[in-house]
Amino acid sequence: MSVLASFRDSTRAKSILERIRARRTGPVSVMEFCGGHTVAIFRSGIRSVMPEQVRMLSGPGCPVCVTSNADLDRAAALAKLPGVILTTYGDMLKVPGSHESLAQVKAQGYPVEVVYSTLDALKLAERHPDRQVVFFGIGFETTAPAAAAAVLQAQAKALKNFSICSVMKLTIPGAKALLSMGEVRVDGVIGPGHVSSIIGAQAWDFLPNDYGIPVAISGFEPLDILAATDAILRMIEEKKPALVNAYSRIVKPEGNRKAWNTVQRVFTLHDASWRGFGDIPASGLALREEFAAFDADRRFAIDIDPAEEHPACRCGEVLRGVVTPPECTVFGTVCTPEHPLGPCMVSSEGSCAAYYHYQRQAT
């Protein structure tokens, strides 16, 4: 059996599922914060095998989805500046802003390039010294180290044509904002795997300590998620909320200090605007004064109109776990992956996309 297949093994899955079904927890809601988990759960059909008493909820962990329309509009405006090449991750292209998506901006002839990492954007800047390469940087703690490294490299190479428009966000302030709002009942949390590999498993111990909510850090294979869910249900059953690292092959308690120190060296915290949440204090990463030369927001003066939301789009509530995608009246009818009204329908980690692709009429 290959390594991958061993994490998808049906015999082991069945034995964990038997344990899950035997847990006496009563009705509980378990939320995954990470969009990667949302997709993995849908792809492997985990929701369809969970006992009725275990309700699985998706949280705000899709970085594309929580990007506000104001930030999307800013990216579109940057792409239209003369001499600028806007670079970003492929997932951002189809996301509708107030009036248009970056894919539509690109179709109008403005240079919008898809890159796989910030470092690719840096290479593009080196290849085009006569152009200004702007990286529209979205993401959580996972992508921030590469962005920070790119800024340091750009500084070392004294590049004058590379900058970042940072809309990167931190997961923990987002999680705290969601729990503090008290709109949804969360009895247990599947903790993000990749984010935790950077910030460390310990970063999540506020969940049991401050909120009394058990958390299990999970990998992304079906067996990882089942094992983490079982650990959460066990803690609920035993009424002993704690932090469990069920992804210890990747995640260390302290995380990747070197990567995180690099992030802290380049970025500082600021109040960031999240779709569905509004401004969350100290939840975003902005370039430090020392690196102002690489800050697109300081380098380019742009003027954008106030952002507008589509009145029918309920992505904000979906991100807070208040409604599920099928509860949105435009889901799958007016709003589809081909004609999205909001980001959750087009991001590869979006809840609406996961429902649309994997769950409609499955049962």
Partner: protein
């Protein structure tokens, strides 16, 4: 050829174009139909129905692990005929060349087409060449069309799937998509994935020798197995259920997909077919398929149901259920 690169004059209709045809295309594709030098090829037709198909190839890069745009253009059109149950008679080749195209590259691609055509036993019977200004196309685009004869008694149609039918795939899926994608992104995997480009008409002939009662056949190219199964479910107004554990996916393709965030069900294949046929015939057809290299990996992956018409569902490895949707948007542009 004297010139090292394609010039606009190579498509002008004048002497340079005739030299290109005389010195490169005719010797490579040589056969009695071409030798006649007419504006069309004439076939004596045996009894049966005529199958006719066309496809245009724009794959980028033009050389990828396991193949080039040349054999892809030959195999792809042969396969579109074959999965209709047709015996291919001949192909046309229309080439659009970019001014400045490297002559060595063109010769290499033409040689690959010659080889593919000879190995398949399907002649290239007519052709056309155009040259466009630099920047108006990317190196080379190739259109191939093909005609074939469907024998009496064969009725393969996307609308013919019936509840109870078995769903068969002729071998591992996702290889072509991963091969092209990894080449385009400069990725190298420890186990290289090569394109599965190959002709399927001999495999189809073998299958039809077991039974003519094959209901549906398709080659899951762009959009992959997922999109093809959805097309069939829609055309036949039936449900299709497949099992994740039965899907033939190599470890290398699985690993690459995990790394890149792709689903092998949506990746293109260029030498695989999906067949839907009565369950009672499935074992015999599979046994016959296993006798040919292109069918060695053939297996049953699911079945057709009456419930949920138009919907394709998959039983996942852990025992869950999810739907398999059509491809939305583009995973990869220009992979064939």
């Amino acid at each position: 050829m004297k010139e090292k690169q394609i010039l606009l004059a190579h498509g002008s209709g004048g002497s340079m174009m005739h030299a290109l045809i005389r010195d490169l295309f005719l010797p490579a594709f040589d056969n009695p139909y071409l030798r006649k030098g007419n504006d069309q090829a004439l076939f004596d037709t045996p009894s049966g129905r005529i199958a006719f198909t066309t496809d245009t190839y724009t794959v980028q890069p033009v050389i990828f692990p396991g193949g080039t745009i040349g054999e892809l253009a030959v195999h792809g059109t042969i396969n579109d005929l074959a999965v209709g149950g047709a015996r291919p008679l001949g192909l046309s080749v229309g080439m659009i060349l970019e001014e400045g195209l490297d002559m060595d590259l063109l010769e290499m691609i033409v040689q690959r087409m010659k080889q593919a055509s000879e190995e398949a036993g399907v002649p290239i019977v007519t052709g056309d060449t155009k040259v466009v200004e630099r920047g108006s196309c990317d190196k080379i685009f190739i259109n191939t069309s093909g005609v074939g004869i469907v024998p009496e008694g064969v009725d393969i149609d996307g609308a013919n799937a019936r509840p109870g039918d078995a769903v068969i795939i002729s071998g591992s899926i996702g290889d072509h998509g991963v091969a092209v994608m990894s080449e385009r992104r400069g990725l190298q995997f420890s186990t290289p994935v090569v394109s599965d480009t190959q002709p399927l008409h001999k495999l189809v002939k073998r299958m039809l020798s077991v039974t003519k009662d094959i209901h549906v056949m398709r080659d899951p190219t762009r959009g992959g197995v997922a999109t093809t199964l959805n097309e069939i479910a829609g055309q036949s107004r039936v449900g299709i259920e497949i099992e994740e554990e039965r899907l033939p996916i190599s470890d290398a393709v699985m690993g690459a997909c995990d790394l890149l965030g792709f689903d092998p069900l949506y990746l293109a294949n260029e030498g695989k077919l999906i067949a839907i046929l009565p369950e009672a015939l499935a074992d015999d057809v599979l046994a016959a398929m296993h006798g040919l290299p292109e069918g060695r990996g053939a297996c049953r992956v699911g079945h057709v149901i009456a419930d949920k018409p138009g919907i394709v569902r998959m039983k996942t490895g852990i025992g869950g259920t999810r739907i398999i949707n059509v491809l939305s948007g583009e995973i990869l542009p220009r992979i064939c």
